[in-house]
Symmetry: C2
Amino acid sequence: MAEERFSKQETLEMRQRLIGQSCRLFYSEDPVKIVKARGQYLFDENGKRYLDCISNVQHVGHCHPAITKAATAQMDLLNANSRFLHDNIVLYADRLAATLPKKLSVFYFVNSGSEANDLALRLAEQYTQHEDVIVLDHAYHGHLKSLIDISPYKFRKLAGQKEWVHVVCKYIKLLVCKLQKKKNWTPACLKDCKLSFQAPLPDTYRGIYREDHPNPGQAYADTVKDLIEEIIRKGRKIAAFFAESLPSVGGQIILPQGYSSKVAEYVRTAGGLFVADEIQTGFGRAGTHFWAFQLQGEDFCPDIVTMGKPMGNGHPLACVATTVEIAGAFTANGVEYFNTFGGNPVSCAIGLAVLDVIEKEDLRGNAIRVGTHLIDLLKKLQEKHEIIGDVRGIGLFVGLELVTDRQNKTPGTKTAAWVAKRLKEEDQICVSTDGPWESVLKFKPPMCFSMEDAELVVRCIDRILTDMKANDLKLQNEDI
Amino acid sequence: MAEERFSKQETLEMRQRLIGQSCRLFYSEDPVKIVKARGQYLFDENGKRYLDCISNVQHVGHCHPAITKAATAQMDLLNANSRFLHDNIVLYADRLAATLPKKLSVFYFVNSGSEANDLALRLAEQYTQHEDVIVLDHAYHGHLKSLIDISPYKFRKLAGQKEWVHVVCKYIKLLVCKLQKKKNWTPACLKDCKLSFQAPLPDTYRGIYREDHPNPGQAYADTVKDLIEEIIRKGRKIAAFFAESLPSVGGQIILPQGYSSKVAEYVRTAGGLFVADEIQTGFGRAGTHFWAFQLQGEDFCPDIVTMGKPMGNGHPLACVATTVEIAGAFTANGVEYFNTFGGNPVSCAIGLAVLDVIEKEDLRGNAIRVGTHLIDLLKKLQEKHEIIGDVRGIGLFVGLELVTDRQNKTPGTKTAAWVAKRLKEEDQICVSTDGPWESVLKFKPPMCFSMEDAELVVRCIDRILTDMKANDLKLQNEDI
């Protein structure tokens, strides 16, 4: 094909030689070379088509012509930095403001979700004059030094516990619960666990309060309240509570109703801010709402919202939205914030085009329709396959959690990897796994994902699980 | 004009309302609205043309058609993330490798110079297992939390000295020299100075070793050696020496010959790495060399090079280059490094197109020719105008330092601001000021800057300085 310059083998060899190996490939044992994409479809060097269930960045579909057109027109006209006045940045901020509660009216444009979260930390610290941050168990907020510090998903795997990183004793019991599910757990593991202040993940499927609890939102929020009290007793002060509005790496979790409002109340009482990380979940993925934090009700409004991935449909574009007061405190320090590329006319033109496509093509409506259909089909599959422990989701943010037994909810890690591998090899369907045990098959496809796509993927999962059962492949593969 | 959607006044009002005020505008008292640009020219909403002497990001010229074409073609084809195999990322890494010493053969692609420097810090920490960083006085390495910590230019203005930030007593005497030049200096100022480990800026114009020193490179390197010994005596360990290859915010400084090799030797002996920040200076700006660190001779090679601003001609694209050994240590920690947008096919296509244009249009040759002419003309101006203390530069990286008296080198801060303002208002020429006292007029124009442009700007500066002298405006404006 014209798009290919090297053979796949050559590309792979060059990649191994020239690109840091920490940058991993999908399907590392047999990576896929993709040369073309359109909508929800990827095409490899031989023209083979893959259904893409995971590219949440290419939000309105791969290579959407309206995005390319907007980018090209602006690139041909101007792409200076934001120290010059320009219409695009203010128009785009105005359009974003219209999707948010009124008080989130000040914007900072940056180049990645990581840059957005780093800036959110700076804003929170500057406004509160506090330092400590509360994060959810297994959270991931970005690849920067400051964000690895607040991402248990990463910092637990890395050496170097910082002086300001603490193990909150009150929550060791929760931690124990979690660690005990791992093989070879001993109390000594606790010593190795490098934990910042930590609240338990409000996961009603396998967390400490479950579906049968009368008010899990309140109950989980109360754990944060306890934690705050513990932190204050230690003489420390909270700058921010940081959470994804739908914890993604945590396992495609849907926060219980009432949780965020209550947490925000407790955090604010302690002088801290509520930061909603919408980097994976914003821009209508939830369908019913433009922002996933809005699922928590109209009375809830974060103090800072960070956005990224889908914002530029692949173009490096991200943003922090906050209040006049918080922005004012940041301005008052007298130090300029200059982001070289952030908010340039091309980035903003692309961002505006993404908003237009979401509206014009009713992609939120599509997310509701297709997402609901996908969830329904997966729930039907759950009746048939014992290994499906949970089906959860909202819009086109869907998780299918595999467990080797429903009682103990033992994570079906290997089965999940196996299903993902077979979907790729046999059906050319790209899904990936997530969650603390990589036991959740996740679906965050481009928002143009269709009913037929949903049906196809469920049919294929059904076939693979049926086949596994027939060949008795299920349990002996698990070794958790 | 068709490109304008709001009146300038409306744009300004929306900007003030919607964009964080820490994001400052050029010419804040009377900002410029730019709606179009081409080459080295900017056009405002009335079609008025400005000569751009400062946009080092739009390296091969604003809106270069070859860049737009490459971006459009790739946007239409594919813009998936780098977890899929793709030719562009490996081809681009290969092309970059060809510009660098052989040992810098492993690449990480990111979205901004800040992301690159943050990753460089992580790489250095991981490889050396040390934490401390040595930076040059007045350095600026980016807007992220981790980089403000290593940027005296920023952290001195901000509250919150970290536990790991130290004042190195041996260097207080240098600091005193510098502070004494400020008004109202008292010894108490020292206490307020939040300094990390700090080496004096190797500035042969106003530093501690000057043009008349027989070997300023060695002498300045020895200050770093002393500093390293001091740090080691304190029981601390050096992860990296971090410096721009031509300190920019520091005042468009040209490092003395031999400095970097010697510093690298001392830093490596202490187990640390040499990080060359080429974010402002790379991609041929120096003319004679593709990378400014190469000005230090063929025997010098950094351990890590970070690059950014000009790399994508305005597109958010940046990179870290390092050795197999350092990348290997980073891989060995077992944690994936995933940068959502970094190294995507569109970013790499743009990066490749930039490299092509630099070659095809001989922009390095142009930088030598025009830069040399500009420096010659400015030096002639220096003979005529007492206020021009120093003219320095290489290629299209040029600084004109104003002083109110040549003996004491009192910074001509207000004059520099005044000249910049008049150049904008009377001649539609954009220059800006830099350096510890904002007394340096800096020239880092798009690389297509012409002989005529150079002659025009020098002629205009001459006229403004002559006029100031005639009207005796020079000294009473200064209040340093």
